[in-house]
């Protein structure tokens, strides 16, 4: 790992933050404190972390219904995030959007999205915008394996390649839509193999290996900033929980215990931790300290969310039009 210790420990911190944040949601959701739908990212932390690790603050991302990891990795703050999940006025969206619509224009987060495949056209628009405004900004577009069967995938990749837009198409392939496996959604094995149909590079990486993801993203970012156009990066990974909290026995209805167990053994965080220690890039105490501090930050976020007010009823009528 030719990366600096700082970079590497930042990866660890980001992944740990996502993991602990999501685990807290599991608990809060179970206790009925988080309303609505929560699609958790546990098991996929290395994808968002590796990709956003290759981006700058000025760069953009478009996210999905499973967006907590993406926005945390891109720089979202925990307090307004947690508050948003509680529907509080101190949340990122004043409580009006919730889990599926967290956005932060200052951090280049163009919004989670409740429409599968809905983020792809928006992402190429952000890329086009950077090209028009002559900035070096790139846009990373996250989408799932199932979403890649939607027409927006085709239209967006075609337009992005045609106009050499600075976009990274990040396919998070966790093997399932809601309950349907990839094999029942498409005849092909690798979504990235479709890149050739758009004359753009497509690579498949181990989505549970943060460094591998980072390196692929870094390369794609270089290409994008150089005006050479978009890249597809397919990250093979797995979600540990059900499709959403409340999915009958956490997706056990359509996935075998064995399969889930297998993937848990490939935990992106544990693997990374082992590597860091083995290669002496960090000490156990350093990592434990990161974990402890993260726990603290999340405790604080929950407290912040709980103590915050709900928006006033008048808020319902605001922000419809500028």
């Amino acid at each position: 790992m030719r990366l600096t210790k700082e970079k590497l420990s930042s990866f660890y911190q980001t992944m740990q933050t996502i993991r602990l944040f999501e685990e807290r949601i599991v608990d809060l959701y179970a206790r009925g404190q988080v309303p609505g739908l929560a699609h958790l990212y546990i098991g996929e932390e290395a994808v968002a972390t590796g990709v956003c690790g290759a981006l700058n603050k000025a760069d953009y991302i478009t996210s999905t219904h499973r967006g907590h990891g993406h926005v945390i990795a891109k720089g979202a703050a925990l307090n307004p995030m947690m508050a948003e999940l509680f529907g509080k006025v101190t949340g990122y969206c004043k409580g009006k959007g919730g889990s599926m619509h967290i956005a932060d224009m200052d951090e280049g987060i163009l919004g989670a999205n409740g429409i599968a495949g809905g983020g792809l056209p928006i992402a190429i628009g952000a890329g086009w915008s950077a090209k028009w405004r002559k900035t070096t900004q790139v846009t990373a577009c996250f989408f799932g394996d199932d979403a890649s069967s939607n027409g927006t995938f085709h239209e967006s990749l075609n337009l992005a390649s045609l106009h050499k837009l600075p976009v990274l198409f990040i396919c998070e392939n966790n093997g399932y839509g809601i309950s349907v496996s990839q094999a029942k959604c498409t005849p092909i094995k690798d979504i990235a193999s479709r890149a050739v149909a758009y004359d753009m590079p497509g690579v498949v990486v181990d989505g549970n290996n943060v460094v591998e993801v980072y390196k692929a993203a870094e390369k794609a970012v270089k290409r994008a900033r150089a005006g050479e156009g978009p890249t597809v990066i397919e990250c093979k990974t797995y979600r540990w929980r059900g499709h959403h909290e409340g999915d009958p026995n956490q997706g056990g209805r359509y996935r075998t215990k064995e399969e889930i167990q297998e993937w848990k053994e490939k935990c992106p965080i544990l693997q990374f931790e082992k590597a860091l220690l083995k290669e002496k890039k960090a000490t156990k105490t350093q990592l434990d300290e990161i974990t402890r501090a993260t726990e603290e930050a999340i405790d604080e976020a929950v407290l912040f969310a709980k103590e915050s007010d709900y928006p006033s009823i008048e808020e319902m009528y605001k922000d419809v039009l500028v």
Partner: protein, 326 residues
């Protein structure tokens, strides 16, 4: 009579129609072993197999269009769109293809398909999973738009929808799925274009849809205690619409309230109100009141979503207003 849920009533209609006619097939996301996000297709794949109950990828334009093509060539497909919000990605197949083919083809061919979906806020799923824009489909000629208000209607209207030779947008309601009610064991069909007078009354006419039928009946019950006699009408199909039953009632009561969960502007409530203003104005003794959702996206925050929604109380208020009106 035995009582079952709205969800099970729908499931029963699907099972009956699939047993009767092998040309009935189901396409949708997670409708197979998963049973559908609201469990409406539960158990059907075990019973009829994966060839007839097909799980599809997120390609709504593709599989809704496939249903159109299959319907045009002898099948009776029923597609499930998980939330009405997602009909936006297959709107062309609905508005420009299914709805218009028979007309464009001069009466040749028919498109006997059903698109099942649902509306309704109240589950904390925010602006893209809670909409109620069923009125959009009522604005487009060539579509039947169904709005089942309870378990009995759910089963009878779905059976009719599947056997009917027109493209049907079958609009279910999220908050009703777990509602129980009396439903006959035997199969039956509820005809389209025939409203039902759910409660007879003399002073006020309420035209209500979906969950608001129940809310209106509750409000009517309370109003009765104050000696106000409310007639509650459930159109059951928004298109074709049973204007006669509605106008006859309005001419009798002289007061009209409409309760529909769609946004107020250009919604179904506007249509019913307009019909009364056009064809029964001389009978109207008070302003018509539209109880509809505000013209804002559905907010996530629980108190805001609660404020967005309305039911018995708001309808009762409207009842008092029109009665109080000099």
């Amino acid at each position: 009579m035995r009582e079952i849920t709205y969800c099970d009533a729908l499931n029963e209609a699907l099972r009956e129609c699939m047993t009767e006619d092998e040309n009935v097939v189901l396409l949708g996301e997670d409708i197979g072993s998963y049973g559908g996000i609201f469990q409406v297709t539960k158990g059907l794949q075990d019973e009829f197999g994966a060839e007839r109950i097909v799980d599809v990828p997120i390609a709504e334009a593709g599989f809704v269009g496939a249903a159109v093509g299959a319907a045009l060539t002898g099948m009776r497909p029923v597609v499930e769109i998980m939330f009405i919000d997602f009909t936006t990605v297959c709107m062309d197949m609905i508005i420009n293809q299914a709805a218009k083919m028979r007309y464009m083809f001069g009466g040749k061919g028919s498109v006997p398909m059903v698109l099942r979906t649902n509306i309704g806020a109240g589950r904390g799923t925010a602006a893209q999973h809670s909409q109620s824009f069923h009125s959009i489909f009522a604005h487009i000629p060539g579509l039947v738009v169904v709005a089942p208000s309870g378990p009995y209607e759910a089963k009878g209207l779905l059976a009719e929808a599947i056997k009917n030779d027109n493209p049907v947008i079958f609009v279910e309601h999220k908050r009703l799925y777990m509602t129980k009610g009396e439903v006959p064991e035997e199969s039956y069909r509820i005809p389209f274009g025939k409203a039902e007078i759910k409660r007879a009354g003399e002073d006020i006419t309420i035209v209500a849809t979906h969950a608001l039928v129940g809310a209106s009946l509750e409000a009517a019950e309370i109003a009765a205690k104050d000696g106000i006699s409310v007639e509650v009408i459930d159109p059951r199909t928004l298109a074709p619409l049973d204007k006669d039953t509605i106008l006859t009632s309005v001419k009798k009561t002289g007061r009209l309230i409409v309760a529909d969960e769609g946004h107020k502007t250009c919604g179904f409530a506007s249509e019913i109100t307009a019909i009364a203003a056009e064809e029964a104005i001389e009978y109207l003794k008070a302003p018509v009141i539209r109880n509809a959702s505000p013209d804002v996206p559905v907010p996530f925050s629980p108190p805001l979503e609660k404020a967005f929604m309305f039911g018995k109380d708001e309808i009762l208020e409207s009842i008092k207003k029109v009665i109080a009106y000099a």
